[in-house]
């Protein structure tokens, strides 16, 4: 992928991701659960 296409793709994916986090509560909860699991197993 060229740099230009990569940056456009990244921007689009990030925008969709942020909208999903803000408007789909089960998705936001799932993402938080995954982050908490990762932190719990790697903290200390």
């Amino acid at each position: 992928m060229t740099t230009r296409h990569y940056l456009i793709t990244m921007l689009a994916v990030t925008a969709l991701w942020v909208v999903a986090l803000l408007t789909v509560p089960p998705f936001a909860r799932l993402v938080e659960q995954l982050m908490l699991w990762f932190l719990s197993t790697n903290a200390g």
Binding site: V13, A28, E32, Q33, A43, G44
Partner: protein, 179 residues
């Protein structure tokens, strides 16, 4: 191949950053915390008044919501009843994550200890008092092991007590404000 790998890693890093920023902003003024991110003041729910409840009902409560009054941020936290009193833990206190994540415990220990706890939708005005008395810690450690560590086996309880004695885990009592 390397280029593609770096592009994927770059995208994942951007998504992680966007996730943290988005969820932190989304929850910071909300009525209570989310799973991982602190929330704002606990404003909904009946405010308990009158005599101290029998805290035994919290044996069936996995986490509660705890808000400091100053600053008015809230988070989810474990809870243990022992000897008729209510306690909350704060772990990782000597780790990098703890210093980043557990600012409420440092604030409470420094004297900004007025708090509001919301348990099963009911709010209780409390005062956080850090506990180090081994007699009290013993009972709390047993309950903590029973509720959150698979059972109060001697090794498990000893590990929790050691964590508290070493300062990795702090225990606070949710004491009445007029005590």
């Amino acid at each position: 191949m390397l280029r593609i790998t770096l592009q994927i890693l770059g995208l994942l890093a951007v998504l992680l950053g966007a996730t943290i920023v988005t969820l932190k902003i989304k929850h910071q003024d909300g009525d209570g915390p989310s799973i991982l991110f602190p929330g704002g003041a606990l404003v909904s729910g009946e405010l308990h008044e009158g005599p101290e409840p029998d805290w035994g009902f919290t044996d069936d409560v996995y986490v509660i919501e705890l808000q400091l009054e100053n600053p008015p941020t809230s988070r989810r936290i474990f809870v243990m009843e022992s000897d008729g009193r209510l306690f909350v833990p704060s772990g990782y206190m000597r780790s990098f994550l703890g210093r980043l994540w557990k600012d409420w415990a440092f604030e409470a220990d420094a004297g900004r200890s007025l708090a509001v706890a919301r348990i099963d939708g009911v709010r209780y005005e409390r005062r956080l008092v850090r506990v180090t008395d081994p007699e009290i810690v013993d009972g709390v450690a047993v309950k903590m092991a029973e509720k959150y560590a698979g059972g109060a086996q001697p090794d498990t309880v000893a590990q929790i007590e050691r964590s508290i004695a070493d300062g990795d885990t702090w225990i606070f009592e949710l004491a009445p404000r007029d005590a």
